[in-house]
């Protein structure tokens, strides 16, 4: 009786504490004492802001600044409850469907599970491990991007190496589109887990948003003692959680390994042509294939056919993928052409022996390898890749920011490369020049936020002489490209269709570099001149004359562009879809509304800070 009474007390108090105002919420810690100490252990609800940003896949800001970087997500809020586009928040690199429309973006992998929406992530460490009771995210601009919140069993601040790392989904949902860009406090109902955590991961999908989402702070609430389960709702057992469980991914060898001879006694299945069954199976996701393989010898044989594994995206299963599961897949991936290991293998899940054995068995015909945020990669791994995957045409190493500069030299052996993404890596001048010397078939190159490249003019000039079929080049936040480099680039690489020169402060319009660019690149479809304060009317008019195929243009943050030249551009470029004129002081909201009325097919963006 006494126990029941105290439970009742506890629930009441918890509820009251949850419904507290924000003022209360900001006090760093609050104790919710149970009514009767003698019966229940003291349940202290701890409330904490993130202590440290541990890892993330992309951000808008620069590597050596705070503005618009993911590091802003640590600590107390800076903007909330205000709304708007502020430097003090965490902003990802992309939003909407603009980036997917570009030729530089590869087609999606086949058979990605429908429940996997994540495009970007951030991992946050908190001071004290707790059993989470609530997670609150303060979203201060265009909310709605968060699609998944996960908790990890590993304490990121402990000295011990991670062992038996478990990730549990606390909440997941569909990407949403809010009707307003207004700030909100997002606090979904979370699943209760049976381990304490101080490592959270937020995964986002910004594809439905009208502009960059901005996150201000994350609050983790929880209790230190393991809560009595009766006090909570029983965790809802999610089918998708079960389906991707480790056992199934690692079953892949299974009891039917020898069973190739399933020709008889399979009823109608025997009458179906082999190819037809293969076609049906080709629509299944990896866990479904693994599950089906356990049903009978015939289907096991079908499910192990290497033709089912010419494209393999293991990114949705990043939390469970290990050397062992990769090993199980090995025998059936001998015809593998496209492999996505992005986000996988961290905290010791994949190792050099594991990955090299897999690549040696399955990497011979590989043409595309996605390795974004794979922090298990080291120089030896890249050496194995460069020696084994000689057919490789696409390599994505974006945000592999712990990879040693020396490691990149091995890429130059992959002479067939057509697409290379090195966004947010430590690649240095010599390595990139080396790569450009040998990889002359490059079509798409992303060197965004590669802060260790000392002289981008030399890189541009090398591109102009060696890689003449270059279609897209991303130099976002390159701090040393000048008009000389740009002039050489556009003279040599006349096929360029996409050029990202956002936040390249050393480019000065007064040199005529942008007008020269507009005259030299008639195929240009995407041009980002973000935050180049010198972009002027003459540049925009030259673009209108020289680049009729323009689809995406970003000239955020210049004071020198007027409504008149924009109108000229909008008339001359009928394929224009995106025009960002945020913080262009001559183009106010009234002008934007007028232009939107005249050109309804163009998304004209005008961000605000209030």
């Amino acid at each position: 009786m006494l126990t029941l009474l105290s439970m009742f007390y506890y629930i009441c108090l918890r509820r009251r504490s949850r419904s507290g105002t924000r003022g209360e919420a900001l006090t760093s810690r609050r104790a919710v004492e149970s009514g009767q100490r003698a019966v229940l252990p003291v349940s202290v609800e701890v409330e904490q802001y993130a202590k440290e940003v541990l890892d993330f896949s992309s951000h808008y800001g620069s590597e050596n600044s705070m503005s618009y970087t993911m590091w802003n997500l640590a600590g107390v809020p800076n903007v909330y409850p205000s709304s708007g586009d502020f430097t003090q928040t965490a902003v990802f690199r992309a939003y909407g469907k603009w980036w997917e429309q570009c030729a530089s973006t590869p087609p999606p992998f086949r058979c990605t599970p429908k429940s996997f929406h994540s495009q970007d992530y951030i991992e946050l460490g908190f001071e004290e491990p707790v059993y989470p009771t609530a997670v609150e995210v303060l979203e201060t601009y265009y909310p709605g991007a968060i699609v998944q919140i996960l908790a990890c069993s590993h304490n990121p601040f402990s000295q011990n190496p991670p062992t038996d790392v478990r990730w549990e989904v606390l909440w997941s949902g569909e990407p949403t589109k809010m009707l307003t860009p207004q700030a909100r406090q997002f606090s979904p109902n979370i699943k209760h887990i049976n381990f304490p955590t101080n490592l959270l991961r937020l995964e986002v999908n910004s594809s439905l948003l009208d502009y960059y989402t901005e996150l201000d702070a994350v609050i983790l609430r929880g209790v230190k003692e393991r809560p009595m389960l009766a006090l909570y709702k029983m965790p809802v057992i999610d089918i998708s959680d079960l389906s991707d469980s480790e056992e199934e991914l690692s079953d892949l060898g299974g009891p039917f390994r020898q069973g190739g001879d399933g020709k008889q006694g399979n009823g109608y299945f025997d009458k179906l042509p082999y190819e037809l069954i293969q076609l049906i199976l080709s629509h299944l996701t990896l866990p479904d294939l693994c599950r089906l393989a356990q049903s009978c010898k015939l289907l096991h044989h079908h499910c192990c056919d290497p033709l089912q594994y010419t494209q393999l995206s293991l990114q949705p299963y990043w939390a469970r993928l290990s050397d062992a599961s990769l090993g199980h897949l090995q025998s059936r991936c001998t015809l593998l052409q496209r492999l996505n290991l992005s986000w996988t293998g961290n905290r010791g899940a994949l190792t050099l022996p594991g990955i090299s054995s897999f690549l040696k068995a399955c990497g011979l015909s590989l043409v595309c390898l996605e390795l974004s945020c794979c922090h298990f990669l080291n120089e030896a791994c890249l050496e194995v890749i460069s020696q084994t995957c000689s057919e490789l045409q696409e390599l994505n190493l974006s945000s592999c920011d712990r990879l040693h500069p020396q490691a990149f030299t091995h890429i130059s052996k992959l002479t067939r490369l057509r697409r290379l993404v090195l966004y947010r890596t430590k690649i240095e001048q010599t390595s990139i020049l080396n790569i450009l010397t040998f990889c002359i078939e490059l079509r798409h190159l992303n060197l965004g936020s590669c802060v260790r490249i000392d002289d981008c003019d030399v890189v541009a000039s090398m591109l102009a002489t060696r890689c003449r079929s270059l279609r897209s080049l991303d130099l976002w936040r390159c701090r040393n490209l000048t008009d000389r480099g740009l002039a050489e680039l556009v003279s040599g690489c006349r096929m360029l269709e996409e050029l990202d020169l956002g936040w390249c402060p050393t480019l000065q319009s007064s040199t005529g570099c942008f007008q020269h660019l507009a005259r030299r690149l008639p195929r240009l479809r995407k041009l980002f001149l973000t935050a180049n304060r010198t972009v002027c009317d003459a540049d925009v008019e030259e673009l209108a004359t020289g680049c009729p195929s323009l689809q995406h243009l970003d000239i955020l943050g210049t004071r020198l562009v007027s409504a008149a030249s924009l109108k000229k551009l909008l008339r001359a470029c009928p394929r224009l879809l995106l025009l960002d004129v945020s913080f262009c002081s001559q183009v106010d909201m009234r002008v934007v509304q007028e232009l939107c009325g005249l050109f309804p097919n163009v998304a004209i963006k005008k961000s605000f800070t209030q």
């Binding site: 705070m66 430097t87 402060p505 935050a531 943050g557 913080f583």
Partner: protein
Amino acid sequence: MWCVADGVGGWRDYGVDPSQFSGTLMKTCERLVKEGRFIPSNPVGVLTKSYYELLQNKVPLLGSSTACIVVLDRHSHQLHTANLGDSGFLVVRRGEVVHRSDEQQHYFNTPFQLSIAPPGAEGAVLSDSPDAADSSSFDVQLGDIILTATDGLFDNMPDYMILQELKKLKNTNYESIQQTARSIAEQAHVLAYDPTYMSPFAQFACDNGLNVRGGKPDDITVLLSIVAEYTD
């Protein structure tokens, strides 16, 4: 840590609010300090970082400002300062100035300044690197008075007048410090509009061959602090 920044008024002609630059600069400094992203003994670093953050803003900021940053390090009992331009500080011990900032000017009435110039006008606008800031470290004692102010004060009140005012400060409680700071600022304000008064500014002008009398009307900011025992 505390700091003053004085926006340069000439930017009004460009349709720019001169306080936007100095205000954002100070807010950024504040944030760096609050989040612990600074080294107390390196106030120039704070200034450099803040200035760099201004360039990282999507908003195309324009303007220029002088700045004076003072950090009091509780543990080492030291004062670390960075000063760029003609704002400055005084450390007063037992009625005497024992340490002060140097005024940094390119030429008469043209202080060193941090600035972001509009495109095309880079050559025409004075722009000093934050590294040009003068830095110093100084051992302080209990009871030392630290006065930090913009040139609006120093151009209108000579040291002896400031010291006279500071002598009136008997208590170290918040109210009397506030009162003294206010009275110094008010007195400077009165002098600034006195056409016959021979202000330090006028004297300096005379030294530069300009026949000027009277005070110098300008924005005046005064911060007053006293080194005291640390109590939680």
